[in-house]
């Protein structure tokens, strides 16, 4: 006699932790995030695309969010995992505020928390499929760090995720310097985002630049970059097909 159909799927000899519950691959993804320290704080840029494999499914995804009073989080990778991380951080900031003791979590603390979360999920073989950029400023101290889906983390004067590591970091290594003005910082970020737009297949021409200073976080309205396609190599691109880009 069949009482109840088993709720466990076939491969559940492992017990309650069935494989169907683990992340295998990402579905809706965001591409690079680029960020740098400048005179008054941190500048961060990310486009607004959410790709579903090779389809550009969502074109209004905000991949940068303010965390508490002092931090700014940007994410690439699986968008749903980013939303889950925002829920974790909401709770973290809520409990921090509930102490009502005049103290608040700074970017260093939030970055450390995120690193622990990402590493622990990796230990359980169920990663949050994101590369995160955490920037902020507290009491005059600027902070900019990054953490990957397996928990690799570090801080630096400029960071990037995904393709940004290949295309933006070299530009930043050449042109970044201490105490960049706001205008220079934005110009530098736009230079990086333009290269990514030309060369990253998943990038779209709709981006936001976020700024965080002691005064707080502001995020620009979405805008697009001017691009130039009149190079002769772009005319009739299949002409020199063999060995051409």
């Amino acid at each position: 006699m069949n009482f109840m159909a088993s709720k466990q799927p076939e491969n559940s000899l492992l017990g309650p932790e069935s494989d169907s519950q683990r992340t295998l691959y990402p579905y809706v993804t965001g591409t690079s995030v680029v960020a740098l320290k400048y005179k008054d704080g941190i500048l961060m840029a990310a486009d607004m695309g959410g790709s579903y494999g090779s389809t550009l499914r969502y074109k209004n995804v905000e991949r940068m969010k303010a965390i508490g009073k002092h931090s700014l989080l940007g994410a690439s990778g699986e968008i749903s995992d980013f939303q889950e991380i925002l829920r974790y951080l909401d709770e973290l900031i809520l409990y921090d505020n509930m102490w009502d003791d005049g103290n608040s979590l700074g970017p260093k603390e939030v970055h450390n928390y995120l690193t622990r979360v990402m590493y622990n999920r990796r230990n359980k073989f169920n990663p949050l499929w994101n590369s995160l950029v955490l920037g902020g400023i507290k009491n005059g101290q600027k902070y900019l760090g990054t953490v990957s889906m397996i928990g690799v983390n570090f801080e630096d004067n400029h960071v990037a995720t995904g393709f940004g590591n290949h295309l933006a970091r070299p530009i930043l290594r050449q042109e970044w310097h201490e105490n960049l003005s706001f205008e220079d910082g934005v110009r530098l970020l736009e230079k990086c985002m333009r290269v990514l737009l030309y060369r990253d297949r998943s990038a779209i021409n709709k981006l936001q630049i976020a700024k965080i200073t002691e005064e707080g976080m502001t995020i620009s309205q979405p805008y697009s970059l001017k691009t130039y396609w009149e190079f002769s190599a772009f005319e009739n691109p299949t002409q020199g097909a063999v060995g051409s880009w």
Binding site: N11, D19, L24, Y25, T115, Y119, R122, N123, F125, P127, M149, I150, G151, V152, N153, F154, E155, D156, N165, H166, R169
Partner: protein, 223 residues
């Protein structure tokens, strides 16, 4: 549907080299500050060296997230030890703790290649060298990490360690002066940076002696 294989690896190698040399009354621990992944450099200014106790310093290379977790774990254990015993952990004691901690994760290892350096209870330099699962040995000098295959033979040549099989047991600690040992470390890293792509950018040197702990930096090739 057949069981899906994971298409991600929980491990990564973030590269770098570490060295430690023990002297009669000092210990030199050094590591480069480059952090890489694949053929990319993530950052040129990342410290692989961690002070675990007053006279005990660890340098680790390998998978950075595991190294960080290991450092945090040992620092926490040291704090508990201080609360319970009202004193600092000695270097040999920390050496055993590190070994046990690594073996605890024998079946999902910390991908961390460590050298532990410091002064023992008599103030003499000591160096312990490890593999990823906790096998360890007290030695006069050691290197670990991506450049170790280049560095170790050179140290063997310069420091002329006596065979550990000889009787009576001979001291492996080097008779070199502190300044000479630091110079040797600088030479060794400059050479390793030439041929190991994962070693370079900057060298961080920590020296422990009776006066305390001193830190020194040297630029290395950035390519």
């Amino acid at each position: 549907m057949p069981k899906q294989q994971a298409n991600w690896s929980p491990y990564d190698n973030n590269g770098g080299s570490c060295v430690a040399i023990a002297g009669a009354d000092y210990c030199v621990i050094a590591a480069d500050t480059r952090m890489s992944t694949g053929y990319n450099i993530l950052t040129r200014d990342y410290s692989k060296i961690c002070k675990l106790a007053d006279k005990c310093v660890m340098a680790s290379s390998g998978f950075q997230a595991d190294v960080k977790a290991l450092q945090k774990h040992l620092a926490a254990r040291h704090l508990i030890y201080q609360h319970q015993h009202n004193k600092q952990m000695s270097c040999p004691a920390m050496a055993q703790l590190l070994s046990n901690t690594l073996y605890y994760k024998r079946f999902f290892p910390y991908y961390s290649f460590n050298v532990l350096g410091g002064l023992d209870n008599e103030g003499k330099g000591c160096v312990f060298t490890y593999d990823a699962v906790g096998s360890y040995e007290k030695v006069g000098y050691s290197s670990q990490g991506s450049g170790s295959t280049l560095i170790m033979p050179f140290l063997d040549n310069q420091l002329k360690s006596p065979s550990p099989l000889l009787l009576p047991v001979q001291d492996a600690v080097t008779p070199l002066a502190e300044a000479e040992a630091v110079d040797l470390v600088k030479t060794v890293f400059a050479s390793a940076s030439e041929r190991d792509i994962y070693t370079g950018d900057k060298l961080e040197i920590v020296v422990i002696n009776a006066d305390g702990i001193r830190r020194e930096y040297m630029d290395l090739r950035k390519d």
